[in-house]
Symmetry: C2
Subunit: 231 residues, 2 copies
Amino acid sequence: MLAVPDPANRSPKAELTRQAIVDAALRLFRAGGYDRTTMRAIADEAGVSAGNAYYYFGSKEHLVQAFYDQMQVEHARAAEVALAGTQAFADRLRGVFLAWVEVAAPYHEFAGKFFKNAAEPTSPLSPFSPESAPARDASIEIFRRVLDGSDLRLSPALRREMPELLWLLHMGVVLFWVHDRSPGQARTRVLVDRAVPLVDKLARLTRLPVVRGVVNDLVDLMSSLRAEGAS
Amino acid sequence: MLAVPDPANRSPKAELTRQAIVDAALRLFRAGGYDRTTMRAIADEAGVSAGNAYYYFGSKEHLVQAFYDQMQVEHARAAEVALAGTQAFADRLRGVFLAWVEVAAPYHEFAGKFFKNAAEPTSPLSPFSPESAPARDASIEIFRRVLDGSDLRLSPALRREMPELLWLLHMGVVLFWVHDRSPGQARTRVLVDRAVPLVDKLARLTRLPVVRGVVNDLVDLMSSLRAEGAS
DNA sequence: CCCACTTCTTGAACATGTTCAAAACTTGGT
DNA sequence: ACCAAGTTTTGAACATGTTCAAGAAGTGGG
């Protein structure tokens, strides 16, 4: 695995080649799936040699990061639209979840292959890896915005952890979606439609004194895990 | 990927060869990790040809199912010990979770490679796949036993779903564990120690009238998703 | 014992991700 | 214009999971 050139000092020419490879890869992935798309085919399509692709991308998996980044950006945009003009927390959350399902739909067939690689802890593609931190943070940011414009009132401590909790829930939805073989991922939509009101209710219950204790424990747990190192 | 012979009609000789391959594989995986263990090395170690290994196992990944099965059995045994003589739900749950961490510890270094495959929906190794149903059911059964001998009282509906919910939580712990690089997986143990009392409290709260509604919604959601097809 | 049939085993060939030494090209300094 | 130092590109070679046609070994019926 060669050292990939520093993004900072890349010549415009090289930048172009790099982009051509990404474009070719995404085109072929989408057309024929991940496994059936060979590095040689990608290189051909991009008009470079196979070896050259490895000058820019350390491995075939690294090409997938481009896919992630693109999808994250699309989701952020779609989420923005969904959030405009809604106040109710439940509506906002549902909007953001469904926006993702919408954006991801074209890739459903081969997304599994991607997430397979993503599940490996040592892989830079893992959603928990340092390499994914920018995309992950951007995604968590979306959920912060869900809260920011909503009518939901939470204790300050919970409020602080809530974006990350919602992101985790989002990961759960993604996992379900990946395994969802129903046409148009209908089951995932059902899951979202039914889970969102539940989360809404639960979030509002946290204001009850009896429930407070559990919530505080949860918040403590999260910050204590964070304190011991990133995971 | 060749058709693997039906388990029913396997000659004793073949059964022996098959077992030799599994043993060799697990020995080498454990010694050198998954990636660095080649199929040729496994075949050599087992005293057969590389091609022959493919007569018994459709792919390298299929060898991993043997690993799962073995670990599941070990966990069941260790859980039994942990459960003996404890009544408190929290103690029982913690015992079962920690038993798993104990049993899985020797494999931590390369377990990630295994779970990578498990995350792919089309893979028979996915914990949600039909092929994994026996191991999954056996695992859920362990959590049913956690409840059976405990002092925890739940509504009948929740009680029915609870084993599966605990199994899902267990999957969460596993995911955390896979990503946990702390020595001896200390962070996972912290997670268990702190999450268990939280679950305990939460479970007991479900008897409160206010919380009942949310719980019923959750139970409904789970059974409605189950109704539409297996995932 | 021999024949057909199934089960098992082999080794060579194949596909594809990846590496690497060498060559081509760029660039900045003189 | 030329050189040295970097950067980019190449094509062949390599490693390893997997396939496959061929044959060996076992099995039951006559």
